[in-house]
């Protein structure tokens, strides 16, 4: 088997919590706590989970927009967590990000042309003429027109701004795109347009995606494999059909059963889980889901379940499956 494009091992990010007048560190928010996964070239890995579970932090750690507390990230066989800031800056040519709110990530005082040109300037790609040509080319690629180049972000609708965000990410011909809730702020009809665009681009440009979202329908639609996060942990990861058809982890089961389906006849087995998501500053001991899990056993409060391969390519962290594991 070929090496994955991206490999993540034991990644952690603890944010210090300050309190009192002297701002002493009184604890840590364990935003991402020991997660491991890989992404193959050309595939889409979806990452889902409820708010605060650590999805965005994970995305930013991969880009090293945040420094990990622990753990390793390999891209194309090279360890990103070991290289200097300057080397990392160069690597960002190959790894780009698309954000939820394109408006917040586009400078309102710059024209679209200037915004799109910037990554080329930063990475010193091409001469001014090439750069301009590339801007026009990419505007067309994402379904806008060359006359849009002279306009400002506020002159576009939400969907068009997200197209600009995508065009900007593509300027440097990256291999990997980390998209953090790229369609969450868009209306349903516009969301479908952007999802279709992203799928088309993936095919023609052979892109690899990490697609972060909280909408389970959207993630199933776009992903080859999906990881489910809960309170900073990866609870389950499998190919998307398996995960949605035969989820193993009790949290995934509850999450899937909670999603309203656009079909009035559909009778779901509702596993309504009680209670709220605990705080990541003070997560439950053992399995972090034990405070809400309908299958909780004694061991769950004490021992952290290992994230392990339970069936071929199907990973989960849950004591229920500990025996069935091939030794």
């Amino acid at each position: 088997m070929t090496e994955p494009l991206l490999k993540v091992e034991g990644l952690k990010k603890y944010f210090p919590v300050h309190s009192g007048v002297f701002g002493r560190v009184s604890g840590h928010v364990k935003a991402v706590d020991d997660i491991s996964f890989f992404v193959n070239e050309g595939e889409t890995l979806g990452i889902v989970g409820e708010s605060g579970c650590g999805k965005s932090t994970t995305g930013r750690l991969l880009m090293r927009l945040l420094e990990p507390t622990e753990g390793k990230v390999y891209f194309n066989g090279k360890e990103l967590t070991g290289i200097t800031k300057e080397e990392m800056r160069k690597m960002r040519r190959d790894i780009q990000m698309v954000f939820q709110d394109p408006y917040a990530s586009l400078n309102p005082r710059h024209t679209v042309e200037k915004i799109l040109m910037e990554p080329l300037n930063v990475h010193n790609i091409g001469d001014p003429k090439d750069r301009k040509k590339k801007v026009y080319e990419l505007l067309e690629t994402v379904g806008l027109s060359s006359y849009h180049a002279k306009r400002y972000p506020h002159q576009f609708s939400g969907g068009q701004r997200q197209r600009i965000g995508i065009a900007r990410a593509l300027m440097t011909n990256p291999k990997l795109i980390i998209a953090d809730e790229p369609v969450s702020a868009l209306d349903v009809s516009i969301q479908a347009q952007v999802l279709n665009l992203m799928q088309e681009l993936q095919k023609t440009l052979k892109l690899t995606y990490i697609f972060i979202a909280h909408d389970l329908g959207v993630v199933r639609h776009i992903s080859d494999r999906v990881g489910v996060m809960y309170l900073g942990n990866m609870a389950e990861l499998a190919n998307s059909e398996k995960l949605y058809e035969k989820p193993l982890h009790p949290y995934t089961q509850a999450l899937l059963s909670a999603v309203p389906v656009p079909d009035p006849d559909f009778e779901r087995e509702q596993v309504v889980i009680e209670g709220d998501i605990p705080s990541p500053a003070n997560p439950p001991s053992g399995c972090r889901f034990h405070t809400r899990c309908p299958y909780k056993m004694d061991i769950c409060e004490k021992v952290i379940p290992k994230f392990a391969e339970i069936e071929d390519g199907h990973y989960a962290a849950c004591h229920l499956y500990e025996e069935s594991r091939p030794q």
Binding site: V188, A192, H214, G217, P262, P264, I277
Partner: protein, 339 residues
Amino acid sequence: MTERPKVLDVKGLKTSFFTDDGEIPAVNNVDFHVREGEVLGIVGESGCGKSVTSLSVMGLVPSPPGKITGGEILFQNRDLTKFSEKEMRDIRGNDIAMIFQEPMTSLNPLFKIGNQLKEAILVHRKDWSKRQAHARAVEMMQLVGLPRAEELMNEYPHQLSGGMRQRVMIAMALLCEPKLLIADEPTTALDVTIQAQILKLMGELNERLGTAVILITHDLGVVAETCQRVVVMYSGKVVEEGPVDTIFKDPQHPYTRGLLASVPDMRFKKDALYSIPGNVPKPGSIKTGCPFAPRCEHAWDRCVEETPPLYETASDHQTRCFLYDPKEVDSRDRTTVES
């Protein structure tokens, strides 16, 4: 089954905003009704006029720049558009209650939850003692499934999670046993497991208390799950109205069909997602003809020249589209092209 009486009957409602760019007809000739004990869904994309419709019913349209410029809002056969501000205050929170997407907009961060609930009762139940109000508040908090109700009375809104705050809002809305509850995107800001809890609660309360509910949402899954009847809005107008079953299984308006086809379904993978071309228009930006015409794959000359009325396509189903004009002989062929 005999039809239950209408609690609310909105007829030809027009609400506009008067801005520097001129008049924005946010709600443009809207008709709909809600029957006793019914859950009606109002669905549509952002800016189509859902919130302004509900604010109009509540008498809460910000004025200026907003104003109800026409139509009737009949609540128990009385026209609310003719009510004074004082009369509306008596109606709000008493006969009609509303909950919003973000509960913090209606909870005062500076006051204890208990005081806010008691205040909300005593405004309308002037003859009640504080003790009675307290007991009622605790009873409602328990009814909406809040744990430690007595203790929560002494806590401040920020001490609660988003899901708990929304439960407090529901408790507050139901204090005076309103005939009608308007819920504007009540679960949009919540996580999906918490949303499931809140929707289940609202369904149970509707059954137990018989409160009629208008549920406003952009989420078609939420509509399918909780509503009996659905109004689909587009650009300030009702474009389709019917029972939830036929809206989802036999949608008629090209916009409704497009919208349903655009939603990724978690249960299976669609090969390609249908997408409606173009952008969601601002209300009033399309002056003549069908507001959906620029995005509609069935549009023909008539659609840009005339504005379609609502056509009755079944006794309980209406669609604002010329394809359903009985006079359009070839309209049947047009509709079958796509499906």
